[in-house]
């Protein structure tokens, strides 16, 4: 693994925002994130009073509820040099939307903005802030990559995961057709409008099948659970993993939704 030399000297203190879906469904992604952050020369802490970024409330139009959750997140993560999340959508929530919910509270708004400036999605943080250019990982499979919407369009993450995946030994990348089109997860959308969501994820799993890849990767657990759930329901053998697992070389566990 290689890190740009000017990034090695400082040793920033990173607070890992685990995200609720990683906490519950895929703890290994959290540990992969810690490993990658430490490889990139960071000191990592995982403050335990963390819960959720507040997106379910925010996107349901509940401003008061969002404020309560956002306040908790801000208080817990303020002491760190950086906040890093293995999710584009949770990182974007803190980075782009927290300030919006405190529009009539000058003090909290300023604190939200200060935290936003130090908040990053994991893979883009490794590449842009830590200068990571290669990994030590080995993953001898053909993979394809789904660009999760928030990471792609709110945070501009497109090349970062591809650049690092390119350095994983044995990994063969096949681009996914319409990789930038939503998989149909959309938080509460997928349970509120299951039939529309299904049509969207069907398009996605067809594209995945057409890519011929053995494993599909993405950077957000929401999309991954949705795609894995549909692939398994369809009886597909394609496996689903978070990109951090592959970059950290932590792929011994079964893939998402697969047997022990």
């Amino acid at each position: 693994m290689q890190i740009a030399s000017d990034k090695i000297r400082d040793r920033p203190h990173v607070g890992l925002f685990v995200t609720c879906l990683v906490d519950v469904f895929r703890p290994q992604v959290g540990f992969a994130a810690i490993k990658l952050l430490e490889q990139s020369g960071c000191r990592v802490s995982v403050p335990t009073p963390q819960t959720c970024c507040g997106q379910p409330a925010y996107n349901s139009g509940d401003q008061v509820g969002t404020r309560k959750i956002a306040k908790t997140v801000i208080e817990v993560f303020e002491p760190f040099d950086f906040v890093v999340a293995p999710s584009g959508s949770c990182a974007a929530m803190i980075k782009l939307h927290f300030a919006d919910v405190f529009s009539d509270d000058v003090d909290m708004k300023a604190r939200a903005e200060a935290l936003a400036a130090r908040t990053h999605e994991l893979v883009s943080f490794l590449v842009d802030q830590r200068g990571m250019v290669t990994t030590d990982a080995v993953f001898p499979q053909s993979v394809t990559y789904h660009d999760s919407c928030s990471g792609l369009r709110e945070l501009g993450i497109r090349e970062h995961p591809r650049r690092l995946l390119d350095t994983v030994k044995g990994l063969r990348m096949t681009e996914l057709a319409d990789s930038d089109v939503c998989c149909g997860f959309g938080g509460t959308f997928c349970v509120k409008y299951p039939d529309i969501s299904n049509r969207m994820v069907e398009d996605k799993t067809s594209a995945i099948a057409a890519s011929g890849a053995e494993t599909v990767l993405a950077g957000d657990m929401g999309c991954l659970l949705n795609m894995a759930g549909k692939l398994k329901r369809e009886g597909s053998h394609v496996e689903t993993r978070h990109v951090a697992e592959v970059l950290a070389g932590m792929t011994d566990d079964p893939a998402i939704g697969e047997g022990d």
Binding site: V24, V46, G61, D62, G65, F189, K192, P194, N198, A228
Partner: protein
Amino acid sequence: MEAKTHAFSANVADALEDEPLQRALQKLKQGFVVKRREAIDNLPEFERLRAEGQAIKDHTLGHLDLYLEEFEAKVAAKGGQVHWCRDAGEARKKILTICRSVDARTVTKGKSMIGEEIAINDYLEENGIEPIETDLGEYIIQLRKEPPSHIIAPAIHVPKEAVADVFRETHTDLDPERSLEDPRTLVDEARSMLRQKYLDADVGITGANFLVAETGSTVIVTNEGNGDLTQSLPGIHIVLASLEKVVPTLEDASTILRLLARSATGQEFSAYTTFSTGPKRPDDLDGPAQFHVVLLDNGRTELLASESREILRCIRCGACMNHCPVYGAIGGHAYGWVYPGPMGAVLTPALLGIERSHDLPHASTFCGRCEEVCPMNIPLPKLIRYQRRKAFERRLSGRVGRWGLALWVAVAARPALYRTFLSVLLFCVSLLRPRCTRFRWLPLASGWTKHRDLPAPATKSFFQIWKSRGSNSNG
């Protein structure tokens, strides 16, 4: 048209079962989307134009009264007349009064979304005047007695075989032996039917893509030339437009025109861009004797003062719906009124009221593709979220969803409680886990498991493992 926005779920179920519609939607994804991409790639100054377009609209909206008054004065100076209409009812009555003044029997119509918004065709029919749509797509759906399903391609849901069927049904003089398989023959057939209608019409109604304040001109873009015949052959031309269509100068209109067709169909320019300024002058060879502009507010002044005002920059290109994966799954009719897709999810609740249309802003994944392609830089997800806030404040979503959310917020804002809650949940799951790596069914989760498995949660959460390893907690 009658709003069916409240029946969204039923509309969606119909749309997903509608195979011709689904085939049409697949084509849409490959058609407009690809063509727009190519057109934008060939225009290096696209981003600059987009910023200019946004600035023009923002400036105009900031001085709307000024530019509308200037527009009215210029129209009057050229011999035309502007009629200010507060709502759909006023606009309908005004149009009827103008039609009655010449005992109009038939009216030709160019494509106009405002015409749909005020349901002018139904109203004219009820009052004994026959409206005839002259845009091919609009003509087809008028024969089929349907609303448009797309703002620029109103009959996109109709396969060509169905067009042939409706022509055979309604064109009584049509030779039954004549083949209507080729789209060309369908166009010829419509043209031959419409030709006489243009000549017979007493009044021509068009919409407007722009109203130009400095000249009092109205502008339409079409690909069929039907607008020109509609507005220049009858004795009266009525332009039906909402008030945010005004721009200060011809130069401003040309800037936005460069964005419009590229964003809509991927064309550099529409086949016809027609500027109309006042009625026929003494030396003109043709043109209408009277020129009226029916200027509709219908909730827009209120919208201008609201947090959703940016939607008034919309130029009706349709790019947001062409790129919307939800529109791509269900098409336009499911949205239940005139404006579908992301712009409709903002505009419909703003115009009809959120009570009747709260499903529209909720049926979005916030994927952001609409904002990415909008030539006017309208932050559509943000505006859609504003509508969700309104719906939440008025408790319009289902009780189960609201209570579930309230529970989630209460737990998520209390980290200790949250951990306990998760431990209990994961303990319950761990009882099942040895046999179960994913669920095909779960109580209260049928929305998920109806179409996909749910990967089982981990037996131990990240934080349980983290704690058991005795790792640091606060640095």
